[in-house]
């Protein structure tokens, strides 16, 4: 089978304008993946399936990954003029001050597709797509029209991560019920405090249970 | 006579209920009751074959057919309006006329008179001999007619099935 780099160039020649990037994999398996931009993902995927040499006709696994906003704090030495009283006279003196600088790299949601070929019996080729951010730009093209296998799995990713797959023929919640609001697989998901805790040996659970019980009984009283 | 006194009102009640009940399925069930009463009347008159045939054909098949027809064609929901149609008077007149004709015919026949009590013992075998002997031609004609209608029904059903595809 072609290497990831070869596949990358093959896609770039076949799909004009596609921007691809190889995402390295640090584990010993060294299965590097291809990051494809959302605009050209559909065409690239179609190419991957139909290309005579690759023939990746089997989409094995679709999943989402939630990458949180990353907050990196670094200490930076900044030199700036500071007003100082030197010998009774106010003068501006340049002084080096250590400041902590916070940079926030915005998070994103990622959809990962594991492709294999049943005809040629090779694989995997891992395809990734990323959303703009985690809140409003969460749309990605659906690959269900290319691989039917994505139908339920994309629904699941939509359900649990909140990625909206445009072009999906039947995008509804699948594991959670229809009225459910949140996306339970996100890293910052907080359990709703709405179920019955059973008394356990654990302090924190007990506390939550008691608080919840108190809240529900007062609610009931009102 | 006691048995007749029980059966006749039952049959009549079944018939009336069939006309007057609101729920069509109930009506069909009432018809079945009327049929059963009729069959019992036959039995009371020692006409075993006719009685059993009545049950087998009417209760077992016709009533079921009616019920199926009701269920397949329209919902069995109770109609909101009254059960009597606007032309009920006409219907009543026609029914009365038919009854009058029948009564006249029955009263006019000699067998209606109570004095002739011969009570013929009719066995099933005799019916068989009669059908196969004297009445064989009518029987065959009826058979041919029924076969023809059955073939027709089959063809109609087949045509519909073919047309759907």
């Amino acid at each position: 089978m072609k290497t990831v780099e070869e596949i990358k160039t093959a896609i770039e020649t076949a799909v004009s304008g596609a921007q691809l990037e190889i995402v390295p994999n640090g584990s010993p398996s060294a299965e590097h993946s291809l990051l494809v931009d959302a605009a050209h993902a559909f065409a690239a995927a179609k190419f991957l399936r139909d290309d005579a040499e690759l023939k990746l006709d089997f989409l094995s696994n679709v999943t989402g990954v939630d990458w949180l906003d990353k907050e990196t704090t670094e200490k930076v030495k900044v030199t700036r003029p500071v007003e100082k009283e030197v010998n009774g006279v106010k003068t501006m003196v340049d002084e080096t001050v250590e400041e902590t600088k916070k940079t926030v790299t915005p998070g994103y949601l990622e959809a990962v597709y594991h492709l294999y070929s049943m005809a040629k019996k090779h694989g995997p080729v891992i395809l990734r797509m990323r959303t703009g951010n985690r809140s409003d730009k969460v749309e990605l093209p659906s690959l269900t029209p290319i691989w039917r296998a994505a139908e339920f799995q994309e629904r699941e990713v939509f359900d649990l991560f909140g990625i909206i797959f445009t072009g999906h023929p039947d995008l509804r919640r699948i594991l959670m019920w229809d009225g459910f609001k949140d996306y339970p697989m996100r890293r910052d998901y907080v359990d709703p405090d709405d179920y019955e805790y059973e008394p356990t040996a654990h302090d924190d659970v007990l506390k939550r249970a008691q608080a919840h019980l108190a809240a529900t009984t007062t609610e009931a009283a009102q | 006579m006691v048995i007749f006194a029980i059966l006749a009102p039952l049959t009549v009640a079944g018939g009336l209920a069939a006309v007057m009940l609101r729920n069509t399925v109930h009506c069909a069930l009432a018809v079945a009751v009327a049929f059963a009463g009729l069959a019992l009347l036959f039995l009371q008159l020692n006409a075993q074959f006719a009685g059993f045939a009545q049950i087998l054909v009417y209760v077992g098949a016709v009533a079921i057919l009616v019920v199926f027809a009701i269920l397949l064609t329209r919902s069995s929901e109770t109609p909101a309006t009254g059960v009597f149609s606007k032309t009920w008077l006409t219907g009543l007149v026609i029914a009365a006329a038919v009854f009058a004709v029948l009564a006249w015919a029955v009263l006019g026949s000699r067998t209606a008179l109570p004095h002739e009590q011969i009570e013929p013992q009719i066995a099933v075998a005799q019916i068989g001999y009669a059908l196969m002997g004297r009445y064989v031609l009518p029987l065959e004609i009826v058979a041919v007619l029924l076969t023809a209608s059955m073939i027709g029904a089959v063809i109609v059903a087949m045509y519909e099935k073919g047309g759907a595809k």
Partner: protein, 385 residues
């Protein structure tokens, strides 16, 4: 994306309803005798013909993947038992394989043999009970199921004496297995393997040439190979459609390249083919078992250097997959260097095999829906996770 991009096989076929007959909507499940648990099919019927079928999942959803992301690598092992509770050992293997791939852990030879033996025994008991359930859906009052369970019991007894538990084995570890398979266990396994062919013969006597079974299953629930491939169907269902794809042969994971066995393929892709492929796979599994039990070498059953506690893989990701009895079972792990995976994903074969349930059922009789459903072979613990 426009509708025109959808290809022919991409949606279930739609059926024109003839006549003005009323359509009947029936919710089969979640409390229905033949949905294998809490699963619902919203079926639209025209008479007894299925016009539309929508599977509804999630009654058993417990967010297994989130659990996997909060507990450590080792602690996830017993949770994998509870996915497909019929085949906990293959689940263990798939997970162990993914983690081993993530950290580059080697597995001693003896451990590989033990894994193969246990996985093939699991496959046999799973296929036998699946066929039992399938005939149960056809109304066989449980006789084949009881025969299947009789044999399954023997296999589970072996599992219990080896791993301590009949179904929730929690047996495999990263780099080997938890305890060694002693000679006594191996002899027990040999005894089971010599007894099984007779059982499969009995099973086939009872079912294979049965006219009612043939009439019920041949030509029903047909799955075309191109759709099967496209919809990601795996396992016996795929092979019943005639596609030669067995991960044991393709990936050669473990030591499967050392054994000679064949992959049975169906031709029609109907329920009967699925049944027969399972029966024939049981026979092939027996062949593997015979070879494995003959050749198993002495040696360590777990890599002595393998870490159990304080397991912290380097950042990276791995996708490990095996041929589980129900299809391709995969685990996708992303490590960020912490003690628990950053992303833990299960690729459940029974869930994805249900993608084509509607395609197979449309136009069929309602009575066939349950049989088609039974022939898919699912476990709700895995579907809903």
């Amino acid at each position: 994306m426009s509708e025109s991009l959808l290809e022919a096989w991409n949606r279930p076929p739609t059926i024109e309803v003839d006549g003005e007959g009323e359509l009947l909507e029936v919710a089969m499940g979640p409390h229905h005798p033949s949905t294998h648990g809490v699963f619902r099919m919203d079926v639209v019927l025209d008479g007894e013909r299925v016009i539309k079928l929508k599977p509804v999942f999630g009654y058993l959803h417990r967010n297994h993947e989130q659990i996997g992301q909060t507990v450590g690598y080792l602690q996830m092992m017993p949770y994998t038992d509870r996915l497909d509770y019929f085949c906990s050992l293959t689940n263990n293997w798939a997970y162990a394989l993914a983690v081993e791939k993530l950290v580059g852990q080697a597995v001693p030879e003896r451990a590989e043999y033990i894994r193969v033996i246990l996985a093939e025994l699991t496959r046999i008991q799973n296929h036998a009970s699946t066929i039992g359930f399938l005939t149960q859906e056809m109304g066989a009052s449980g006789t084949p199921l009881m025969y299947a369970f009789r044999e399954r019991e023997k296999i589970l007894d072996l599992f219990e004496s080896l791993t301590g538990s009949r179904m929730m084995c929690n047996y495999m570890r990263f780099g080997g297995c938890r305890v060694d398979m002693t000679e006594a266990h191996l002899n027990a396994a040999r005894k089971i393997v010599t007894g099984l062919p007779r059982f499969i013969d009995e099973f086939e006597n009872l079912l294979t040439s049965n006219e009612i079974l043939m009439a019920r299953s041949q030509g029903m629930g047909v799955l075309k190979p191109d759709l099967a491939v496209n919809a990601g169907i795996t396992g016996p269902m795929l092979r019943a459609s005639g596609v030669n794809y067995d991960i044991r042969k393709v990936d050669h994971y473990g030591i499967y390249d050392r054994f000679s066995f064949r992959v049975p393929l169906g031709e029609h892709g109907d329920i009967y083919d699925r049944y027969m492929v399972r029966v024939l796979e049981m026979r092939e599994s027996l062949k593997i078992l015979e070879q494995a039990l003959k050749d198993i070498p002495a040696g360590p059953f777990i890599d002595p250097k393998a870490k159990i506690r304080g397991f912290k893989p380097k950042p990276g990701e791995a996708y490990g997959r095996i041929e589980a009895p129900k299809g391709e079972l995969g685990f996708y792990l992303i490590s960020d260097g912490g003690t628990s995976p950053y992303r833990f994903r299960i690729r459940p074969p029974s869930f994805i095999n249900l993608t084509v349930l509607e395609d197979m059922c449309i136009g069929q009789n309602v009575a066939d829906v349950v049989v088609v459903f039974g022939s898919v072979d699912i476990v709700l613990g895995e579907v809903d996770r």
